[in-house]
């Protein structure tokens, strides 16, 4: 193991902001933030449709607003082929809906309230993610 590109301070700061968003949504609106849940419910359910829509809009405009205000470049590097991205998208969409959560829903909101179900889900998707990278590196 080799530690590279480690950015603990920005990671922790960003994490605090994510936590703050989770608190606001919970304390004011009584709901948990799980992006897969909000996005899939926006498509399939009429409940809270305006709230889900506005949350997603906020999420989408945030990086651009951040870029305009701070004048910092946002680096994104995606090296996967489009076919691989499409397969990954299908797996992420189906998987998060079947298990009822993603990195935010299970990993933060779920673990935050000590849900065993979410802890099991998070450990599972992290282990499978790590194995996937291992296999990808071998191939």
């Amino acid at each position: 193991m080799n530690i590279v590109n480690f950015t603990p301070i920005t990671a922790f700061t960003g994490g605090l902001l994510i936590g703050l968003a989770v608190i606001l949504f919970f304390v004011f609106n009584g709901r948990l933030i799980g992006v897969s849940g909000i996005a899939s419910n926006f498509l399939t359910s009429k409940n809270n449709i305006m709230d889900n829509f506005l949350f997603l809009i906020g999420l989408i405009v945030a990086p651009i607003a951040y870029k305009l205000i701070t004048q910092k470049e946002i680096n994104i590097s995606i090296s996967s082929s489009l076919l691989l991205l499409a397969i990954a998208g299908l797996l992420v969409g189906a998987g998060t809906r079947i298990s009822g959560g993603c990195t935010s829903g299970h990993g933060i909101s779920g673990i935050g309230r000590f849900s065993l179900r979410s802890i099991v889900a998070t450990v599972t998707f992290m282990i499978v993610g790590i194995l996937t990278i291992l296999i990808k590196n071998i191939i």
């Binding site: 405009v61 590097s77 499409a86 998208g89 299908l90 009822g100």
Partner: protein, 136 residues
């Protein structure tokens, strides 16, 4: 008012993903590459988010209702079943393939790269396809 909170929560969440660079799939793949060149940053994002949010969940346990809604609404499902394991495994595989999960994928749409758009479209198709898996 709850709509304003929804919008603000979305913005703060998205800024958090941007500041922490979790919007960049390379950072996420670096975290999952634990046996190679490992980037532990994602763990610090989760620690930051949990340190601040977890106490609130427990403080609010005795509150009857949230400020702008009639009641707290979230799943209280405690069942550890096959659906949870199979779903999480499928998600983990997709996450490991591309380094994108729903939050960062949607947030990165504004940066207008084809990759995010393809990923988000197929992810929405995946939401629909998941209904095929009905067993329990």
């Amino acid at each position: 008012m709850n709509r304003v909170v929804s919008l603000i929560s979305g913005i703060i969440f998205g800024v958090g993903l941007t500041v922490s660079q979790m919007i960049n799939p390379a950072k996420v793949l670096g975290f999952l590459n634990i046996f190679g060149d490992w980037d532990p940053s994602l763990a610090f994002v989760m620690i930051g988010a949990l340190i601040i949010s977890s106490p609130f969940f427990h403080l609010c346990k005795n509150n009857k209702k949230p400020i702008f809604a009639d009641n707290f609404s979230y799943s209280n499902n405690k069942e550890l079943n096959k659906r949870l394991i199979i779903g999480s495994s499928l998600f983990g595989a997709g996450w490991g393939l591309a380094g994108l999960c729903p939050g960062p994928a949607i947030a990165s749409l504004t940066l207008l790269n084809t990759s995010s758009v393809i990923f988000v479209i197929t992810m929405f198709v995946g939401f629909y396809l998941s209904d095929i898996y009905k067993e329990k």
